[in-house]
Symmetry: C2
Subunit: 210 residues, 2 copies
């Protein structure tokens, strides 16, 4: 929807294969995600499979990814920039909901108890938010060669980013806060050494260069 | 994907609201379909909900609607027209799979037994095929005012339609055969008067003017 030529240094799907094929590829992959979650091979308990399908549907639908993307498109055409609170809500929907669901799905499939499940849900929410703030910072500061996509593509547009609302330094502080929040949530889940990969993921989200 | 201006006499979504909004509306509605099927209010038995989600995923994914649409796009660019068998397969995927799933979902939610379920599945397959043949005939013969969309839009293009492969009269015979097949399947399901709406639906699919 940003009509960009590159993602992670490779041509975007609609550039390489055409818009119709790109739309169909997205639709096919979304259906495949539900097919996998509903497959008895994913979990032998039907209740778990049904709950996962419902969770993915909410994460990608109007209350999640699609709704957030729509708010983002609306913000571009709006006369006044969004407030920090509005941007945080938009980003929680656009990318946060799906990242959070991914963590929650793993937590459920892994048989986490109520306390660990709640902590992992908080972790998912924090890294979802951190991912998007890091993306905004990379977009404002990165160069296209490292980034593998067009940089500063939001410059001069009324785009809903925390860098625009808080400045780069403010966004960096928010990112650090979110990584701390994610790390504390992993501690609260009492996973022992099994939590290390989640801590490393939180750092990766904040420190990635593309 | 046919970039048409009208559907059923009203502006297409991408003309009225833009392409990005149209794509997001489709994505949101697809997610909503899964959300409804996975909702305990739809059926109290989790196994039923999980099976419905899996069935919808297959009907709309690569083996169904998306795959059929992709074959259709490929056929337009191909040098040789598709065979009748290839067209039937494409149409069974593109529109047939979703119509068939809709009937099967109703049959399952309504608690149909094995015999009635198999008969209703055959009915769904037949009206799915009939719907698409009727669409091809309307497109070849209809005028835009009645049809509510551009007519003869496939003229001069290498489009996968049974009218192209069998001629209008051949397509009409195929349509009549499919309606008979659907009606016989309703009889085989032994639904009594409850089957009347299904018989009427089969006739509607064949006789609709737009």
């Amino acid at each position: 929807m940003d009509d960009d030529d590159l993602r992670r240094g490779r041509p975007t799907t609609h550039r390489a294969f055409g818009e119709a094929t790109a739309i169909l590829a997205g639709d096919a992959l979304q259906a495949l995600a539900f097919e996998i979650l509903a497959d008895p091979a994913t979990d032998s308990i039907a209740e778990v499979r049904a709950v996962l399908c419902a969770g993915l549907a909410r994460a990608v639908g109007l209350a999640g990814m699609v709704g957030g993307q729509m708010l983002d498109l609306d913000a571009e055409g709006a006369t006044a920039p969004l407030s920090v609170k509005e941007i945080a809500r938009l980003q929680a929907m656009k990318t946060g909901a799906l990242l959070r669901f991914s963590v929650e799905a793993g937590s459920r499939l892994g048989g986490a108890g109520a306390k660990a499940g709640a902590a992992l849900s908080a972790y998912g929410r924090a890294i979802g938010a951190a991912f998007q703030v890091a993306d905004d910072i990379l977009d404002a500061e990165g160069d296209a060669a490292t980034l593998g996509k067009r940089a500063q593509k939001d410059a001069g547009r009324n785009k809903a980013t925390l860098v625009g609302a808080l400045g780069v330094e403010g966004a960096r502080r928010e990112l650090a806060r979110l990584v701390d929040e994610a790390t504390s949530a992993v501690d609260a889940a009492s996973l022992g050494a099994a939590g290390d990969v989640l801590r490393a993921t939180a750092r990766f989200v904040a420190e990635r260069k593309k």
